[in-house]
């Protein structure tokens, strides 16, 4: 029951924050780890060596080196980069 209440509150918070904030004036790309299959296509196309595979074999975008060119978004077969 306690878990159910926490999850309902969490859902409401997520929904609220999802639409209440001001849209960022810059772009940042992240990876949905649940959908990433570790194929490495994003590493092939990244012109700044900003993507690597972690010990779980999932891709990680290094925000310090990413220049938001979105090449990885285009080639991702699982549409896991957002």
């Amino acid at each position: 029951m306690r878990c159910k209440i926490i999850l309902i509150i969490l859902s409401l918070l997520v929904m609220l924050s999802g639409f209440a904030c001001k849209k960022a004036v810059w772009v940042e790309y992240k990876i949905d780890r649940n959908s990433c299959n570790g194929c490495g296509e994003c590493i092939r196309v990244c012109p700044n060596d900003a993507v690597y595979l972690d010990s779980d074999g999932k891709a990680v975008i290094d925000q310090t080196k990413c220049t938001q060119c979105a090449k990885c978004v285009v080639v991702c077969p699982n549409k896991a980069i957002y």
């Binding site: 001001k22 959908s35 595979l53 310090t64």
Partner: protein, 409 residues
């Protein structure tokens, strides 16, 4: 046959030796091996090339607690296809893991060999006159997890080494051109290290936090170094025998010269709802929200919302349960990104399956696929496959026709 030989001759001998070595190690160790090989003719409108895709995955249980994993993936073609900057590449992986009751550990090595080196700019904003051609990436990782009295303590160290050839451009006033000067190979190193602790508050609620650091020598400065600390909570609840809801909140504070001030505090929240409707129909909806702010929280910025939904129907007539119809969508409103897809896999006759797929990616492409497979057993198949990419922006159609085999030994 000519094309096969031509492409194969393009791969380095070292790459072949490595691949053969990995197969031999796997066979000698009696591992469970998955081998995939596909050969395609790729028509990109202007030119036609031969494309080969090969993959090996092997897993061997050395003892009840120790496992060895090996993986290798290689792709070669005559010239570059799609937006890939290289026509050859190889990714190899090897890891040994130990899984005891209290302690879990994994040590791994991964390399990515860019068979055809290509320009990359490591100084995108600071030094526009130097390009690098990356040749290979080597990565060594060590992970440790210890579980005791409801706490899980984990730590990791990973090093990443990128071998690249720098090219410095100097402006020639006489010819009014930039003249490239090849410099000696350079090694770019990055060290990732971190530790975390998690506590299970309730069988379905976990709280955790930790610290991570990245040290980088790119650009011979600390520009790409960063440090972060994070807190997170995860919860999962079974609402009914056929539905489940899970969610997480991750807060991260990241410091680094290359990180913009507005993005130093990052909050990533997610909710996922799964439902089984019965009669072979299952689905899920997941929603992720990414917001951030500066240190003083003057303004909270919405980076993106990410909505993903899948609905899958399994046909009851297939005794193996491999016949299905899948439809889904991925929407990211802030990036004006929309993807809709549908896929079917149908048992046709005997051991023959047919797979068809279509996906639409707004402003990017329409993708069509058809595949006919013959299964030798549950996990091994040979197939004929074709896929077509209709790219946005009046670009030529890209058509691929090929055959392949996937074997589990």
């Amino acid at each position: 046959m000519y094309s096969v030989c031509k492409v194969c001759s393009g791969m380095s001998k070292q790459s072949y030796l490595l691949a053969i070595g990995l197969v031999l190690i796997s066979v000698c160790l009696g591992a469970e091996i998955n081998l995939q090989s596909g050969f395609y003719s790729a028509d990109t409108g202007n030119e036609t090339t031969f494309l080969s895709k090969n993959r090996l995955d092997a897993e061997f249980t050395i003892s009840p607690f120790v496992q060895l994993k090996i993986g290798s993936k290689a792709e070669t073609s005559d010239f570059t296809i799609d937006s890939f900057p290289q026509n050859r590449w190889m990714n190899n992986y090897m890891a040994v893991s130990y899984g005891g009751e209290i302690l879990k550990a994994e040590a791994g090595y991964r390399n990515i060999l860019f068979g055809a080196s290509q320009n990359m700019q490591l100084y995108p904003r600071w030094n526009p006159v130097t390009d690098f051609r990356r040749n290979a990436q080597h990565q060594v990782m060590l992970n440790l997890d210890a579980e005791y009295a409801g706490f899980v303590i984990d730590g990791y160290v990973a090093t990443k080494n990128l071998l690249a050839n720098p090219i410095e451009y100097t402006y020639d006033f006489v010819t009014d051109t930039n003249v490239p000067n090849m410099l000696p190979s350079k090694s770019h190193d990055e060290l990732y290290a971190g530790a975390g602790i998690a506590f299970q508050l309730h069988p379905s609620i976990t709280l955790g936090g930790g610290y991570g650091h990245k040290q980088s020598n790119f650009t011979d400065s600390d520009v790409y170094s960063s440090s972060e600390y994070f807190l997170y909570s995860q919860a999962e609840h079974k609402l009914s025998p056929s539905s489940r809801i899970s969610g997480s909140i991750n807060w991260k504070h990241i410091n680094g010269e290359a990180i913009r001030d507005e993005a130093r505090n990052n909050l990533l929240s997610s909710i996922r709802y799964q439902q089984s409707f019965g009669f072979g129909l299952n689905g899920f909806v997941s929603f992720m929200n990414d917001i951030c702010s500066d240190d003083q929280v003057k303004q909270v910025w919405l980076v993106s919302n990410y909505i993903r939904s899948h609905l899958q129907y399994h046909f009851g007539y297939d005794p193996v349960g491999a016949s299905y119809l899948l439809a889904g969508a991925v929407i990211v409103p802030e990036k004006e990104s929309e993807t809709w897809f549908v896929e079917s896999n149908m048992h046709l006759i005997g051991n023959v399956y047919g797979n068809t797929g279509y996906s639409y990616r707004k402003n990017l492409e329409n993708y069509y696929q058809i595949k006919l497979s013959y299964f030798f057993n549950h996990f091994s198949e040979c197939y004929l496959q074709s896929f077509v990419k209709d790219l946005a922006g009046n670009k030529d159609l890209q058509s691929y026709y090929g055959l392949g085999v996937s074997i589990r030994l």
